[in-house]
């Protein structure tokens, strides 16, 4: 493969190699689905517990997310070990979600400290939109872009309903922002394998 070759075959080779690097699509959608379903279960549980059973300690269900954080750390470290090539897009997306995690934590901490409980769900929805939209733009994956925009629309809508019903907007947001795009990402990933 080392002998000189002509200009046309050079360009064909460049194109085919660039495509091989580009098609190394490593986003399997696993974390979108995992987080999507966990938040969906927690939010629906909280809504049902408050509305149907008038159980006011239902917010403790959200501690389930800490288990998911631990699983995620293990999952990402295992994924990194098996990676044979790293793309710039994967690195950028990693930092987008890291910013989201830190901002989310601080946002919720500040709003709880200031006892602005009414603002927590709309604020969470604003936050959900940002990394979802950006990931969609970076991956050139339209379902995530649409999902991010819908999260913002749900955020605006959530202030128009009574506080107890806002949690259902969180359920809807993770369905359109993470679960549906997650399944579509998985399909794309498996088709490539």
């Amino acid at each position: 493969m080392q002998e000189a070759f002509n200009e046309k075959s050079s360009l064909q080779l460049i194109e085919s190699m660039i495509n091989k690097a580009r098609n190394n699509f490593s986003e399997s959608g696993t974390l979108y689905l995992l987080w999507g379903f966990v938040v969906l279960i927690c939010s629906l549980f909280q809504f049902t517990a408050i509305q149907v059973f008038q159980y006011d300690k239902s917010h403790y269900i959200w501690f389930l997310t800490w288990l998911v954080v631990i699983y995620q750390l293990v999952f990402l470290s295992r994924k990194r070990k098996n990676e044979t090539a790293r793309t710039y897009t994967a690195d950028i997306i990693k930092f987008v979600w890291l910013c989201f995690g830190v901002s989310m934590f601080l946002f919720i901490f500040i709003l709880i400290k200031q006892q602005a409980y009414q603002s927590i769900n709309p604020a969470i929805l604003v936050m959900y939109g940002m990394p979802t939209f950006l990931s969609g733009i970076i991956l050139k994956f339209r379902p995530l872009v649409i999902g991010g925009i819908l999260c913002w629309a749900l955020s605006a809508g959530s202030v128009l309903v009574p506080y107890n019903f806002q949690i259902l907007f969180i359920s809807a947001a993770v369905l359109v922002g993470w679960i549906i795009p997650g399944f579509l990402l998985r399909k794309k990933y498996l088709n490539q394998q």
């Binding site: 493969m1 080392q2 002998e3 000189a4 070759f5 200009e7 046309k8 075959s9 050079s10 360009l11 080779l13 460049i14 190699m17 660039i18 091989k20 690097a21 580009r22 190394n24 070990k81 044979t84 090539a85 790293r86 793309t87 710039y88 690195d91």
Partner: protein, 96 residues
């Protein structure tokens, strides 16, 4: 029509394949490059060495889970050379 000279380091099938692959990646393992270029380990190793000597790529050798791992990434000099090579190719391809 002026014809630009093609960089002899890049005007070789396997070396061009390696650079074209690395241009779209942050870094890649030797095994990944070998799989994508369908080259033999020996030949690939020689060509990677030539690219490294020309300072077109940076090669890092380390251990991963007790196994040796060779990581390659393109350097700014390599990116520059690749861009010039593509421009030179285009000057050849344009009708006179």
């Amino acid at each position: 029509m002026e014809f630009k000279e093609l960089d002899p380091i890049l005007h070789s099938q396997l070396r061009l394949a390696v650079i074209s692959l690395l241009i779209g990646l942050k870094e890649a393992e030797f095994t990944f490059i070998k799989e994508k270029t369908n080259a033999t380990a020996g030949n690939l190793s020689v060509q990677i060495n030539k690219l490294k000597e020309a300072e077109y790529i940076q090669v890092t050798k380390q251990f991963k889970d007790n196994y040796p791992q060779t990581l390659c990434r393109i350097t700014p000099k390599g990116i520059d050379a690749f861009e010039k090579y593509v421009l030179a190719l285009q000057s050849y391809m344009k009708p006179g």
